[in-house]
Symmetry: C2
Subunit: 450 residues, 2 copies
C-alpha cells in the first residue's frame, strides 16, 4: 500500500518551521510574497470574467492538452526565449547559427500542466517502469528524487560542474551501465538546466549538445530512445539586466573557479537534430504567481500522446480558469512586465544575501553566487556535517534559522559517498531584513563550529 | 514506455464531435454552459484579490493537503450534506439514529485535490500495485476504467440494481476470488454512489452498509483492509426540490420496476464503525464551475498520509487561487445559492429530455429517468447493438447526434459477457432546443432499426 512513497523531506522542514514562530526560513523555495502580482491578476481575471462570452469557457472543462490559444502563446513565448525577441533574454550570438525547424515550437507538441512539477511526474510515469534508471545531476532537485523513490525507480548520479554536467563522468557512468547490462533500464536523464535547484548552476548550451550526443551514442545498446528531460523551471528568474556591465561571472569563494555561468543559454530544443529526444518542462508559475499552477511541456512523439493520456486520467486537463488567466496575462503584456520587475527584485535580494554572507560567514565556507533563480549554495569544509541529523543543523534550528541540508539533494547511489557538508540557502521568500538577520544567525552558528 | 495507457474512449468521442460541426452531442459530461456562475466567480475573485493581505496568500504556494480554511468549510459542508442543515439535502430520518463520531468530518482527514478525478487517481495509486484487483459497478464511470487499465490493474464487475450493487452478487464475486486465492489482490471497491455515471443509479444507505459489511467479512482472508472508494461527484446535482410532492420515484419504462431511488442518502462515512474503511471523494467543480477544478477527499489513515505524499509529488497541492475562490464562494453563500439554482435548471432540462424521449423513442426501448446528475440511461432490446462499431452508432453519427455507447462503461471481465445494447444520454451541456432535436434524431435512428 503505497509504502514506497515516504515522507518527503520538505514536509519535515515545513513542520520544523511551523513549530518555531520566530524562525527565519531560508529553506523554502517559495517566491517573494510582497511582489506577487495581486492587482495584475485581478485585472486579467476581470477581463476573463467580464462577459458570459469569455467567462463561460473559462469556467467550463477544456481539452486535456490545454487551451489552444494558451498553447499558441506559449509556443511563441518559448521561441522568443530561445531566439530572442525580448532584449533581456536574447541568446548571445546563438540565434542565427542555424535555422530552427518550425515544428519544434509547434503548439501541437505543447501540453499544459498544473505546474511544471506535474509534467515531471507524468513524463516519468510515461517513460519509466519499476526498477528503471534515471540519470540525474549530483546534487539535484530533491522533490524529483522523491518522485523516483515513490515509483520504485533508481537514480544514477552524474557529477556536476560549474557549467553543468561533467561529460566525461556521464560517459563513464553510461559505459559502466552498459558493461553491467543495465543500459536497457536507462530511460532518461533529468536536468535542471537554468539556475539549478539547489546549486544555482546553469548548464551551457555546449554541454546540452554534449549530453544529447552521449545519450544518442548509447541508444543502440539500450535498445530504445534515451530522453533528456530539461526542467527549465527557473529560466525566467534571471538577473541579466542587473548583471549587465558588471561582474557577470559569479565567483567561487574559497574554492576553485570552475568556469563561467552563462544565464542566457538556449534550451536543449535548439540542439540540431535532437529535438525528438528532448522533453522541455517550463512554468508560468514561478515567475508570476505560484498559487496559479500553470506549467507546460514540449514533448516529442510518442511521449506527447502517452503523457496526454496520463493527464486525462489524472485530471482531464489543467483548470481552464487559470489557463485563461495566463492567456490574458501573456497577451496583454502583464506577464512580461511583471517578470522584468521580478528579475530586478530578485537580483536585489540576491545582492543583499551576498553582502550578508560576505560579512557573516567564516572565510573557509565556500559559496556559489547565482545569476538567477532563488538559491545560494554553500559548502562547509569536509568533515563538518550539515545534514538533518548534524550538530550544525540542530544549532541553526535552535537559533531560529532554517536551511535545506545539501544531503537531501543527493540521490541514493552506492557508486559514490553521499556528500553531507552543503546547504541550500534561499532568498526567495524571506524579506531583506530576514535575509540579513537569518544569514547573521547562520554565520554565528557556523563560526562556532569552524 | 507508457504503452499501457491507451487512447481513452472519450478522446475518440470528442474527435468525432469536432469533425461534424452540426452534430448535437448528448455524449459529453460537460455541465450547462449558460448557467455557469460568471458574475459570481468574478465577485468572489475580486474579494480574494481586493488587497495584498488576502491576495498574496492566494497567489503563493499553499500546503500540500490544502488550505486550512477551505478544509474546515468543506468538512462543515459535508457534515451538512449527511446530517442536514440545508432543507433540500436533509436525509430522511437518518440523521439521529446514532451519534456521529466527530473525527469523521475532521478537516485533518480532508485533502483538497484538482477535482475529485485526481483524488480517484491518487487513491488508486496509493492502494494498488500492478495486477491488483478493484471491484467496480457493472457498468461504471469509464474514465475510472481507463485509470485501472493504465496502471495494469484488473477490474471485477459487480451487478448493478436500481438501488445500487447486487449484494448477493458481490458476495459471490468475493467468494469466488477467495476460492481462487486472489483475495489478497483485492484492495478496494469503487462506487459512484449518487446519480451514477452512466446509469443515474443512487446506492441506498442500506446497500452501503451491506457493502462495507461484506468487505469487512473478507478482510481476514485478504490479509489487509479492503477499502470502499465512494465517488460522490454528482451528489449535489440532485433534483430534490423539484421532485417534492411529485412522483419521486423514477420509473423504468418497458422493463421491470426494480426498486426506488433514494436521492438524499447519507454517505458511507455514516455507516457505524466503518469510517476507517471509507474513502469519500467529492467535488465543488461539477455543481459550480468545472473550469475551476477543486475537489476533495476524506481519507482514513494510513491512506490519507500516503495520498498526501503522492499529491506532493504530483503538484505540491492544488492551485491556491482556486482554493481561495471556493473559500469565498462557500463562506459568502454564493456557492449554495448557485447549487440551488442549478438543481432547478437540471431538473427542468431532465424533464425536457424525458418528454422528448417519451415522444420519440420506440416503446421497446427501456430507459431510466434520473433523480439527479446529468444522464439518462437507455437500453435497446438485446440483439440490437449500440457500441462504437455498431450500425446504430454509425447511423446516429451520420444523423448528427452523439451518445456514449454503454459498452465503454463496462470493465473487461471474462466472467460475464459485456453488454452492448445501452446508451448514456446527457442533458448536461446541450441546450433545451438541442436536447429536443437530438432526441428526435436519435429516436428516428432507433425507429429505423426497431
Amino acid at each position: 500500500m503505497g509504502q514506497r512513497t515516504t515522507e518527503p523531506p520538505i514536509s519535515w522542514l515545513m513542520h520544523a518551521a511551523l513549530s518555531r514562530p520566530k524562525l527565519i526560513s531560508l529553506a523554502a523555495g517559495f517566491t517573494d510574497n510582497a511582489s506577487l502580482p495581486v492587482a495584475e491578476a485581478r485585472t486579467a481575471l476581470n477581463q476573463v470574467l467580464r462577459s458570459p462570452k469569455t467567462g463561460q469557457p473559462a469556467l467550463q472543462y477544456g481539452i486535456t492538452a490545454g487551451d489552444t490559444t494558451l498553447r499558441q502563446l506559449t509556443a511563441e513565448h518559448l521561441r522568443k526565449l530561445d531566439l530572442g525577441g525580448t532584449p533581456c533574454r536574447r541568446p548571445k550570438n546563438q540565434g542565427r547559427r542555424h535555422a530552427v525547424p518550425p515544428e519544434i515550437y509547434s503548439p501541437e507538441r505543447l501540453l499544459i500542466a498544473s505546474g511544471s512539477q506535474q509534467l515531471l511526474y507524468m513524463t516519468t510515469e510515461a517513460l519509466c517502469d519499476e526498477d528503471d534508471i534515471v540519470l540525474v545531476e549530483d546534487p539535484t532537485y530533491f522533490v524529483y528524487l522523491s518522485i523516483l523513490q515513490s515509483r520504485g525507480l533508481r537514480a544514477r548520479a552524474v557529477r556536476l560542474e560549474r557549467d553543468g554536467l561533467d561529460l566525461a563522468h556521464l560517459e563513464k557512468v553510461l559505459t559502466s551501465l552498459k558493461r553491467r547490462g543495465e543500459l536497457p533500464r536507462v530511460k532518461m536523464l533529468y536536468l535542471v538546466s537554468y539556475f539549478q535547484n539547489p546549486t544555482g548552476v546553469t548548464t551551457s548550451f555546449e554541454k546540452k549538445r554534449g549530453i544529447l550526443r552521449l545519450l544518442k551514442k548509447f541508444e543502440r545498446a539500450a535498445g530504445h530512445p534515451i530522453y533528456l528531460l530539461e526542467d527549465a523551471a527557473y529560466r525566467e528568474l534571471c538577473f541579466c539586466p542587473e548583471m549587465k556591465g558588471r561582474d557577470a561571472l559569479p565567483r567561487v569563494q574559497a574554492g576553485q573557479q570552475i568556469g563561467p555561468v552563462i544565464a542566457r543559454e538556449k534550451s536543449a530544443l535548439m540542439v540540431r537534430g535532437a529535438a525528438d529526444r528532448v522533453i522541455y518542462a517550463g512554468t508560468f508559475t514561478k515567475p508570476f504567481a505560484t498559487g496559479a499552477r500553470v506549467g507546460y511541456g514540449v514533448l516529442p512523439e510518442p511521449v506527447f500522446t502517452a503523457v496526454k493520456h496520463i493527464k486525462g486520467n489524472h485530471d482531464f486537463g489543467t483548470a481552464n480558469l487559470l489557463q485563461q488567466l495566463f492567456v490574458r496575462a501573456l497577451a496583454s503584456g502583464i506577464y512580461g512586465r511583471h517578470v522584468a520587475r521580478l528579475e530586478k527584485r530578485y537580483a536585489h535580494k540576491a545582492r543583499v544575501m551576498k553582502l550578508a554572507i560576505k560579512k557573516h560567514f567564516p572565510r573557509v565556507v565556500e559559496w556559489w553566487e547565482p545569476e538567477g533563480g532563488l538559491y545560494f549554495w554553500a559548502r562547509l569544509p569536509r568533515g563538518l556535517q550539515s545534514g538533518v541529523k548534524s550538530k550544525v543543523f540542530s544549532a541553526a534550528l535552535k537559533n531560529d534559522v532554517l536551511y535545506v541540508p545539501g544531503e537531501i539533494c543527493y540521490a541514493d547511489d552506492a557508486t559514490r559517498r553521499k556528500p553531507n557538508h552543503e546547504m541550500r540557502i534561499s532568498f526567495g521568500n524571506a524579506s531583506e531584513k530576514d535575509i540579513r538577520e537569518g544569514i547573521k544567525r547562520l554565520g554565528k552558528v557556523l563560526g562556532r563550529f569552524l
